[in-house]
Symmetry: C2
Subunit: 408 residues, 2 copies
């Protein structure tokens, strides 16, 4: 199945020689993946960095999530170590010890406090980490740290991803770079969405936390491939102040152009990474942005958008490029939100398909929009202020094939 | 794809000569289906019957739902008229008039008040009913009313169903018969779950309402094929007191053996119809009952069961007969309910797959259970009193094919 790629992201992610001042990184092989591919990454900040993180709300978070969440709460980090191949989930007390041991090994190599080291693991669950290999991997990664190795990092964290995901941008004199892996949370044994963002901006942890929440809400948290949540999802933002200037505070978000410029770059980066994750979803041939407008409030808008985005009927219609407004109406009305059909407008691309609950007869034109690689669906449900956007993917034969035939 | 049928239901539904004393029914052709198949059914009670109904919670209910809901609130009905082929949904004021006109036409034919006539429609949405054909259909159905024509009724209400669904039982001297159509709510344009139950029991509307809610909760309302809700779903129970005896009251449910025997027959009938609907789901090769035990309360149990039942990953594993406990753990933990992995047991059939969060190594044996037509999954999450059961189906190539290629 030919998989077309959103050209803009492709261009950015292929740019070589990317670096964020004050960060050195590495990706190495330590034998966790049967394929023998790169499987351990280290991100190190030469200066103590402020940090913010967002973590899975799954009832069974992996040991690395527990360790990294504590570090994020303290707001300071010097390094992140990531392994792919084994998730260190459902591994009990041994798993907790191993996650902590990874922070100690990194701390010793880099001569930094282990409590300022974050750890992330992704891969199969219910399997203990081979700590001898992990230790060797950390040792060799520490030796290979270099400013320009982000591409290697993006490859080391892959599991079932078909390609690395890296976005880099510059805004208001600061550099922001993000790598991500996973495809939503679509495969519980080899799954997980991980995203690591590094910047040389000077900012307090509280600023980073607020900015990260604002950025992730409409991007990575608005991406659904099959409605699944992983035990290990994590988004981490490190900022080492290398660019200088006074540290941005939470209060700056409302008034400082420098803060707003960073927020905008961060949101844009997260959105581009979310698009890359969606396109790399299992069996995906097409993605759709579901924008809901005019709801009573943002929560109602979000419920309607997610109801459409997770509808198996909408997702199969997307695969078939069928401008089937009946399925959108059905899914929107089933969201558990009070709606009036008489004030419902649906546009595909900019083509009106339904206006005031009445079909416009423009199925042919709308069908052309449905055949695009990225389909824009706009659902206006009334005149309220509530808006939401959710990114979703099509449901295809290949999704079923990959997941019905996949064996742990 | 070979579709195996749950033998017990098959046997029951093929029994000929079924009747419920005091009810006469008919199914006729009036030209609503392109195929020319039976498309209009009439159920008439010779005596005024007590009635209870449960209706879709969709934000855009069809006009027939609005009309029948009012009738159910009043608690008395003489007849139900059902057409298949056109759903009379998203049809505005004309649709409302047409639904009411159907009750008047039946009222005139049967010489009963039109407000005691219920109406249901299923089929394409956004299309007006051809009332001349409907009127001719009602006229001819009224002429053909007969006690033994329930099989014809079950065929007249079909849309994309591949076979009729009829269950009949006798309990404590009363007869209970149910017909149903639809396959969950899996196709918004030709979809809808309709279920009509008739009994000769003597009972007050309040008793019927309570008994119906108890029966539908763990059966028809616990069936999910793709998480979709239709604009026209309806379950109606008519009881004409032909069997005699004092009318059962709501208070009897707690103490009268006669009431409990009826409740048990009603629940069993609804569960058997739910199984039939599940097996006739689009592309379905296998169904699974997800039983959750030991939750803090029934609501938590239901959330965990539904999270597993609606998980695309679990549904594809079911198709592949893969005893993938990782996907069950993943989906259970993502339900938004506080759980502890250390107290999680998972059984497939009666084979333990996970005990206290630890794999038992019995994948082989569990795999044999997964290859059955009806798979029993038991998830014990703790020692609380909360229990729930949800019935689900596998997600197959054929589901994607039918829904990606289906055009309105």
């Amino acid at each position: 199945m030919p998989l077309r790629i959103w050209p803009q992201v492709q261009t950015v992610s292929r740019r070589a020689g990317l670096a964020v001042p004050g960060f050195r990184v590495a990706g190495v092989r330590c034998g966790l993946k049967p394929s023998g591919n790169l499987d351990l990454a280290l991100i190190a900040s030469d200066l103590p960095a402020a940090v913010a993180g967002m973590f899975t709300k799954h009832a069974f978070p992996g040991a690395p999530v527990v360790v990294s969440r504590s570090c994020a709460r303290r707001g300071r980090a010097r390094a992140v170590v990531v392994n792919a191949g084994i998730a260190n989930v459902a591994t009990g007390a041994q798993g907790e010890q191993d996650a902590k041991q990874m922070t100690r090994l990194v701390g010793a190599e880099l001569n930094v406090p282990s409590r300022e080291v974050m750890v992330a693991s992704t891969g199969v669950i219910g399997v203990q980490l081979p700590m001898d290999r992990i230790a060797a991997g950390i040792e060799s990664a520490a030796k290979e740290l270099a400013p320009n190795a982000w591409d290697t990092v993006s490859r080391s964290i892959m599991t079932t991803d078909t390609r690395p995901k890296l976005v880099s941008t510059k805004a208001g004199g600061v550099r922001l770079l993000g790598v991500a892996k996973g495809a939503g949370m679509i495969q519980p044994n080899m799954a997980t969405m991980l995203c690591f963002l590094a910047s040389d901006v000077a900012a307090e942890p509280a600023f980073l936390k607020a900015a990260l929440h604002s950025a992730v809400g409409p991007s990575l948290n608005s991406l659904t491939i099959d409605g699944e949540t992983s035990t290990s999802d994590m988004v981490v933002l490190l900022a080492n102040a290398h660019a200088g200037g006074p540290a941005l505070t939470e209060a700056d978000l409302a008034k400082s152009p420098r803060a707003q410029s960073f927020q905008s770059a961060l949101t844009d980066t997260c959105q581009r990474l979310a698009d890359e994750l969606a396109f790399d979803g299992e069996g995906v041939t097409r993605i759709a942005s579901i924008q809901v407008l005019g709801a009573r409030n943002a929560r109602d808008a979000d419920r309607v958008a997610r109801s459409v985005a997770n509808s198996a009927l909408f997702k199969t219609a997307l695969f078939g490029a069928d401008p089937n407004w009946g399925r959108i109406v059905q899914a929107a009305g089933a969201a558990g939100v009070r709606l009036d059909l008489a004030t419902l407008d649906i546009h595909v691309g900019r083509v009106p398909l339904l206006l005031g609950g009445e079909p416009t007869g423009k199925r042919e034109l709308a069908g052309q929009q449905m055949r695009r690689t990225r389909v824009e669906i706009e659902i206006r449900v009334g005149t309220g202020p509530g808006e939401a956007r959710v990114l979703t993917t099509d449901l295809t034969y290949d999704y079923v094939k990959i997941n019905a035939e996949y064996t742990t």
